[in-house]
């Protein structure tokens, strides 16, 4: 059966409630309420930490990203108008901080894009069927995908985190990484093929 692409997800009741909570918290923080800010950090630190961990793959670096991100949040929260959700805004700040850290870490010029395999799967029809039913019920698959993302070469890992976790647009990713939009699409396509293969290997017991 043909399925519609997912694109941006429609808001459900929980996300609407979360937004209402965010607005109340935001007003308190913008009014200088330090306890409200501590609550905001507690609510959203996992997001910033996850961005840091997935992009930098180092626990201490991820903690530093959390600290830097919320310092940035504190400094600029007065200007935040709520066009995006707080979680999304904080995630973007964390992403930018992680990218800056990666740039300072990099001492040599960017290397050519590493190969990840063919741009088309060999058996797209038969291969995916066993995994499709397990996607929603098997928590172990979540761990497998985390590992598979962590093992991707950096240029691919970054676009996956930004596109699929942070839900950034192709243009936003291209601007953040200072590459072209077609380059972002190529990386994302290859990365998804590699992740798909990693899941298939796991399901078929070859991993």
């Amino acid at each position: 059966m043909l399925q519609e692409p997912e694109g941006r997800q429609p808001m459900n009741l929980a996300s609407l409630e979360a937004r209402a909570d965010d607005r109340a918290l935001l007003r308190a923080v913008q009014g200088g309420d330090r306890e409200a800010f501590a609550r905001l950090v507690e609510l959203h630190s996992a997001r910033a930490y996850s961005v840091g961990m997935s992009m930098l793959r180092n626990e201490q670096d991820a903690r530093d990203i959390v600290q830097q991100t919320f310092l940035n949040v504190w400094r600029s929260i007065a200007d935040f108008r709520g066009e995006a959700s707080l979680a999304s805004w904080i995630g973007r700040i964390a992403t930018n901080n992680a990218l800056m850290r990666l740039r300072t870490r990099r001492r040599k010029p960017e290397e050519p894009l590493p190969e990840l395999g063919p741009d088309r799967p060999e058996h797209p029809v038969v291969d995916w069927a066993p995994i499709a039913d397990k996607l929603h019920e098997n928590a172990e698959l979540g761990l497998q995908i985390q590992r598979a993302v962590a093992e991707l070469p950096e240029p691919y890992r970054l676009v996956v985190v930004m596109a699929d976790y942070q839900e950034m647009s192709m243009r936003e990713i291209a601007d953040a990484l200072e590459i072209s939009v077609p380059n972002v699409k190529t990386r994302l396509h290859r990365a998804r093929l590699a992740l798909r293969q990693a899941l298939l290997d796991y399901v078929h017991g070859r991993a």
């Binding site: 692409p5 310092l71 647009s169």
Partner: protein, 92 residues
């Protein structure tokens, strides 16, 4: 539209960024091509799985510790900003 062209548009389709004038052609191709449909579904599955699996859960203690670290850093940087008003000096 052939499979190679479809492959080039698959990312846009999944990200909700496909130009409207290409939507009908891609749908038509997908209805006729089980290979591209399977690839599309697998990419949707990977995308959904990445989205919900990337968040690293932190314990309440870890989150509280991070909040404390951040607040300490803010206090060092700007001790007056954000401090709760002193009830003794609050204007009546």
């Amino acid at each position: 539209m052939n499979c190679e062209e479809m492959s080039a548009h698959l990312i846009d389709l999944l990200q909700g960024e496909l130009p409207p004038d290409l939507l009908a052609a891609t749908r038509q191709h997908l209805q006729a091509c089980p290979c591209c449909t399977a690839l599309q579904m697998s990419f949707m599955g990977v995308r959904a799985l990445v989205h919900r699996s990337m968040e690293t859960p932190l314990t309440a203690a870890e989150r509280a510790q991070l909040a404390e670290t951040v607040l300490s850093a803010i206090s060092l940087e700007d001790p007056g900003v954000g401090a709760r008003p002193d009830p003794m000096t609050r204007p009546r």
